[in-house]
Amino acid sequence: MVPMGYLLDLIGSAVLLGCTYTLVAIGFSLFFGVMDVVVFCCGDIAIFGAFSILASYTILNGLGVTGTWPLLLVILLLLLIGILFCAVLGLLTHRFSIKPFEKSSALMPLLSTIALGTVIREVIGLMFMPVTNGVADMVAGENAVHVVSGRNPQSFPSLLSLGGSTAARNIIIVLVTVVILLLLFLFLNKTKTGLAMQAISQNKELSLMTGINVSRSIVITFVIGGVVLAISGFLVGSYQTIMSFDNGSMFGIKGFSAAVVGGLRNTWGAVLGGMLLAFVEVMVSGYVPNGSAYASILAFVVVVIFIVFKPEGIIGEKTVEKV
């Protein structure tokens, strides 16, 4: 009765939504894998990246750069700025929310990163407008493009929609997600630094003894996490087109849920978890009458079921705690 095209539409939406969840979830599993802590502000870091890209774009636009320079160069430049911001933010997260709690209960960094996430979110909401407008005035003078309010929704530049086509944009989003996953996989499994990071996640003391520079690896983890989250922010922004300062909390919760469902330590688990969550949400919305109201409730129910009955996730080894 329901046409095939409809199902395909839904699958397409679910894959795209799954990509956005996955990108944030990778951040969670990367940090958890190495540090054994949940860095809850991943979603906010990603959205901060998106907003810094948006701010830079606004300023570049005022300078008249965006029209004259080749599009690819502009995108790369913007990404570079976003990556810079997110990497710095990642380091700050480590300094203020992870490092002070190395010796205390594991819940301290969780609480601290939740609070830090709120700080990031509120700083975007409160500071975005003054900062962008101030800098834009300084750099672009009369041509400055002004942003209304930091808390109001902002429109993200549609750089990926080549010729206004969303199909191209969607393909790019999926492709970039896959490429990032592959690169991350290769990095973690084929490079010395990556292997060192995995070793730390297995056993910190032993890694120290075998001569791995643990603190350097941790810093690298946060920088890489920042890079991944900046790119996620860019893709999420391009996908949504309209961004709000508090989108980070929703992506954070969904990303964390995806990472848990997939298995917190595993990068591929993040993909599976993200896709599962997105499929549950989209299919419930699509096939149940008035299902949107219950879609995210059901997604959380799935998460709870996983935590209670299969806490190690879809991919993940069961561990038994020993004295």
Binding site: S105, M108, S112, A115, R121, V260, A293, V304, I307
Partner: protein, 417 residues
């Protein structure tokens, strides 16, 4: 008084000790009164002074000294504190103090919720992200019973206890299988599901909430109603304020008793190391369930009283953001210390109300407070007391040596823990 660097003063005579107890008690309540009453910036300055003062007092071991003094004269300390607390509603009774009375009642209710949360977060180190949801369950029980069914508010309170208890049990059960992050995520999911579910169920008024919740009443004497006494029009909060204070004092008492009991000790053990606790023969499952159930009952009663206070329940009051505020209160005050938790709840409630004009920055301030407290002083303003079994043991020995000593009773030992 073993630490030589700290504040060590020996008040020799019994009378001077008693005078000190009375004066310190009056001082604490006068300070609370001044913070409530003073205009925004004076109040803010007071709050900052209190925070700095508490930190200094802890550094020089004055808090411990006061604790010891109060415990030695427990009956007197309690009586004076009780009288001072009961004087608060009278001081805020006139109609013109209605707003301050409202803040004070809110602080009482939030303190109850924070005490509930403290069982899980403070004692057992299980961060529950859903205190607002438990509070909401209590509030909605009250609303449904009094509005949808038209029954008395007392039945509403009973329903609040029943449903929050059931919810605590239901959410406590998965905690037997999970811990740490997973437990936190379960409670987080519960909090989010609660808000969304409430919005989608028409019986609970959906997003509109339920209007016209009745507060408690005894016969014709309603707890939230403006009375005129000796020609002075009173704030409608006065009877409810008395009631909330009584409940709060009762809750603090329970929390302290649990804290010094075997239950409190075993919850602390579970927080330290669950495997070890199991090996010591502690029934972890039972103790964890206990923490969840008693905690959610506290939250539920707080919620029911809150519904009576605002005469309205709606989903916007019982959200994830509100839960974070409760967590912030507990951490600021001092985890696993009932007095600290109440102080934290009081300070943050008043701060929020006094800084109303800066509401734009409220979330930012909360988050910064949380980050700072976690880094600088994770134990909170009034850290939990170290269990001192040595002193207990020595006293017991001394008591055995001189069996006629009248001043020390069995009860003192239990509180000394």
């Amino acid at each position: 008084m073993t630490d030589k660097t700290g504040f060590s003063l020996k008040l020799k005579s019994d009378a001077s000790q008693r005078l000190a107890v009375v004066l310190i008690n009056v001082f604490i309540f006068a300070l609370a009164y001044a913070i409530l009453r003073a205009p925004a910036f004076v109040s803010l300055a007071f709050i900052l002074l209190v925070i700095v003062g508490l930190l200094a007092a802890d550094k020089y071991r004055i808090i411990a000294w006061v604790y010891d003094l109060f415990i030695r004269h427990k009956k007197l300390a309690f009586t004076v504190a009780f009288l001072c607390a009961m004087a608060m509603p009278l001081l805020f009774a006139p109609k013109s103090s209605q707003y301050i009375a409202h803040i004070a009642v809110m602080a009482c209710i939030y303190s109850m919720v924070c005490l509930g949360l403290n069982f899980q977060m403070g004692s057992a180190d299980m961060v529950n992200f859903a205190p607002a949801a438990f509070m909401g369950i209590g509030a909605y029980s009250m609303a449904v019973v009094t509005v949808n069914m038209g029954l008395s508010g007392w039945i509403g309170i009973l329903a609040a206890i029943f449903f929050s208890c059931t919810a605590g049990l239901l959410i406590g059960l998965p905690t037997l299988r999970t811990k740490g992050y997973y437990l936190s995520l379960v409670t987080m999911a519960l909090q989010l599901v609660f808000t969304q579910l409430i919005k989608n169920i028409p019986y609970f008024g959906g997003p509109n909430g339920i209007t016209g919740v009745k507060s408690l009443s005894i016969g014709d004497f309603a707890f939230y109603k403006s009375y005129t006494l000796f020609g002075i029009k009173l704030a409608p909060h006065v009877p409810l304020f008395f009631f909330c204070l009584l409940i709060l004092i009762f809750f603090i008492y329970i929390a302290m008793r649990v804290g010094v009991s075997h239950y409190g000790l075993s919850l602390n053990t579970i927080a330290q190391d669950e495997v070890a606790a199991n090996c010591l023969g502690i029934n972890c499952n039972r103790r964890k369930l206990f923490a969840f159930i008693i905690g959610s009952i506290f939250c539920g009663i707080g919620g029911a009283l809150n519904a009576g206070l605002t005469s309205f329940v709606g989903p916007s009051d019982y959200t994830f953001a509100r839960s974070l505020i409760f967590i912030c209160m507990v951490i600021l005050g001092g985890m696993d210390n009932p007095i600290g938790v109440v102080v934290g709840a009081f300070l943050l409630t008043v701060l929020t109300e006094k800084l109303r004009e800066f509401a734009d920055y409220a979330q930012l301030i909360y988050a910064l407070v949380l980050v700072t407290v976690l880094i600088v002083r994770p134990a909170g303003l009034i850290p939990k007391r170290v269990r001192n079994y040595c002193a207990l043991f020595n006293r017991k020995l001394r008591q055995l040596a001189e069996p006629a000593a009248p001043s020390v009773s069995e009860q003192t030992f239990q509180s000394e823990n």
